[in-house]
Amino acid sequence: MADTGDIICGTESISDGVVIRVSGDIDFSRSPQLREGLLGAINDGPARLVIDLNDVPYMDSSGLASLVEVFKAQNAAGGKLVLCNLQSKVRGIFEIAKLDQIFKIADDVEQATTV
């Protein structure tokens, strides 16, 4: 299993998939761990992958790239990926990259499990 360090701080099963909680800044030094952890999670074939970013105060383009890769893999597998609890700085980089128009973004975990 890939070493994902402490970047993935929790997982919770839901009826049609899994919620993954991510923690800390997602930058060039940590995005490979995020990528490995999330790609490992979709190996189990969840219909819905919810990524809770409540504890992520900062993300750079390498973090976005990791999420795009997971998004494409999850789409290819016929599953759904939903992001939730984005802090303002993180939402800002999604808007700059226009990825807020591509990803499903929910306000919280509860909403993410129903969209």
Partner: protein, 151 residues
């Protein structure tokens, strides 16, 4: 003015050092009149520029030098920051450094686009009489965020 930066550091090309640089840039941006989203955009642009040097310029080598200099700037009532980042990377034609088309949904290639969106000015050049590249960026605070107090 360019040679008397009030903040000038040399760092090694190690990704795990970027968090410390982000903290320093955010604090100085705040001191020099950039708050909230403006300060966050400067932090993002500097972080992206440094990551580009490490990833593309030095191809992941962790023992190469990067120089970061910061100045406060002012235009009328608006205050802001000038950033210069220099390295010893293999020089490239500055005109070839462009962000990719955002309509293409794929990982990677977003850093330069983000820098240009985050800052008012981003200018790449080759270092004069020295090996390496240089990027100079500026950002002034948004008029709505311009603080009344100066100093």
């Amino acid at each position: 003015m360019q040679d008397n930066a009030p903040f000038a550091i040399q760092i090694a090309s190690q990704p795990r050092l970027l968090c410390a640089v982000r903290d320093a840039v955010e604090r100085l941006a705040g001191q020099w009149g950039l708050a909230g989203e403006d300060a966050g955009r400067v932090v993002l642009a500097v972080d992206e520029a440094l990551a580009n040097v490490i990833r593309h310029g030095y191809r992941g080598q962790e023992d190469r030098p990067i120089w970061l200099k910061l100045w406060p700037i002012q235009q009328g009532d608006r205050r802001g920051i000038r950033v210069v980042i220099e390295d010893e990377c293999e020089p490239v034609d500055p005109a070839t450094i462009k962000g990719r088309d955002l309509d293409e949904i794929r990982p990677g290639g977003l850093g330069t686009h983000i820098m240009r969106k985050a800052m008012d000015r981003v200018e790449y050049s080759r270092r004069v009489d020295q090996a390496g590249m240089r990027v100079e960026m500026e950002k002034l605070n948004s008029p709505a965020e311009a603080p009344a107090q100066k100093g």
